[in-house]
């Protein structure tokens, strides 16, 4: 994990009980996790009365350092020993290391879900709807009498917030072909997961 000097400096300040007493340390730590993971996080997450006595510049620096470190640790799936080593290097005492690791462990799953959801991917199919109709005639062709399906795939795009849909028509045979191929794919998936 590559961490900048700024992060290290921020942590060194956090380690110092003269700058951050136990209570302030815990509050800042929680604030860092909250601002990363809580979608509705208040911008005023650092506005707690017990943090008022600390220089706002120092507060922001340490908050940013903590948040940066948490993201890097999450990205690389850091284990407890990696975390401990780094925090020791930043002069954290045993108690603060334990606190950090506990908070990290509590929030690990949410963190990994968040990080995993960032990134580009192909348009993702989320749902399908279908319509069965019986075609009787058109103005060009009478006495048709054949069933037809209209299938609509709901798609989610990472690039744009829009939710386009892909619609197409198919005959019964074509739908059987489509379903057959999708079933092949899911059987293949099942076999692969059993390896």
């Amino acid at each position: 994990m590559e961490l900048s000097e700024s992060v290290q400096k921020g942590f060194q300040m956090l380690a110092d009980p003269r700058s951050f007493d136990s209570n302030a340390f815990t509050l800042l730590l929680r604030a860092a996790f909250q601002s990363l993971l809580d979608a509705q996080a208040d911008e005023a997450v650092l506005d707690h009365p017990d943090l008022k006595h600390i220089d706002p510049v120092v507060l922001k620096h340490c908050h940013a350092a903590a948040a940066t470190y948490i993201l890097e640790a999450g990205k690389h799936r850091a284990d407890k020993s990696t975390l401990s080593t780094y925090l020791e290097d930043c002069k954290f005492d045993r108690e603060r290391i334990e606190l950090f690791c506990t908070e990290y462990q509590n929030n690990k799953n949410s963190l990994e879900i968040l990080l995993g959801s960032i990134g580009r991917s192909l348009p993702h199919i989320t749902d399908v709807s279908w319509r069965l109709e019986y075609q009787i005639k058109t103005n060009q062709l009478h006495r048709m009498y054949r069933p037809a399906y209209l299938v609509t795939l709901s798609v989610q795009n990472t690039d744009s917030p829009s939710y386009p849909e892909i619609s197409f028509s198919c005959s019964m045979e074509q739908l059987q072909d489509l379903v057959g191929k999708l079933k092949d794919a899911s059987k293949s998936l099942e076999r692969a997961t059993q390896l």
Binding site: K75, P123, L141, H142, R143, V151, L175
Partner: protein, 173 residues
């Protein structure tokens, strides 16, 4: 159901018996064109309405052609009816139609924002046709959604076998 031929149509088709079997035509290009148009109209309307053999024969009878020519026209109709109907069906308003589906299993191992992942996905290439244009769309889905898609579409196929649909198919003719 009889095919209704207007006077104009009958005039155009009146040219047909004059066609020399040797192939040389001694008439104006206009007459030939009308003749072809008349014949086209006769065949496409018959195919569109899917009129029976008997009805076709009766419709053509009013033109006063020879027995031989009538037989020829009937054969022409029966031989080409299916293809003409296929072509006519392509003229209807249409949506993209399904052509083919290709799939691939992928597992995402890492991304810029998260390492050491095992994220299975199914990548799908959907081939669609519209008005002769071939279109492909590349899409992705996860295993759970794939199962959901299969289940939903199988239900769709099952619908045709229900009593309700069978009754409709039987009774609308």
């Amino acid at each position: 159901m009889l095919l209704e031929l207007s006077e104009e149509h009958k005039e155009h088709l009146a040219f047909l018996p004059q066609v020399d079997s040797a192939g040389k035509l001694n008439v104006s290009s206009d007459t030939v064109q009308h003749g072809v148009e008349g014949l086209t109209y006769l065949l496409t309307e018959s195919s569109k309405l899917m009129i029976s053999e008997l009805d076709f024969q009766d419709s053509v009878f009013v033109l006063g052609f020879s027995e031989e020519l009538n037989k020829l026209l009937l054969q022409l109709y029966l031989d080409n009816r299916k293809e003409i109907r296929t072509i006519l069906s392509e003229l209807a308003p249409s949506l993209p139609s399904y052509h083919n589906l290709e799939w691939r299993l992928d597992v995402q191992l890492a991304s810029r924002s998260l390492r050491q992942q095992i994220k299975p996905a199914v990548t799908i290439k959907l081939h669609l046709n519209q008005n002769g244009d071939h279109n492909t769309k590349v899409l992705q889905t996860d295993p759970a959604t794939l199962l959901h898609l299969v289940q939903q579409l199988e239900q769709a196929l099952e619908e045709m076998k229900t009593n309700h649909c069978r009754r409709v198919v039987r009774n609308i003719k």
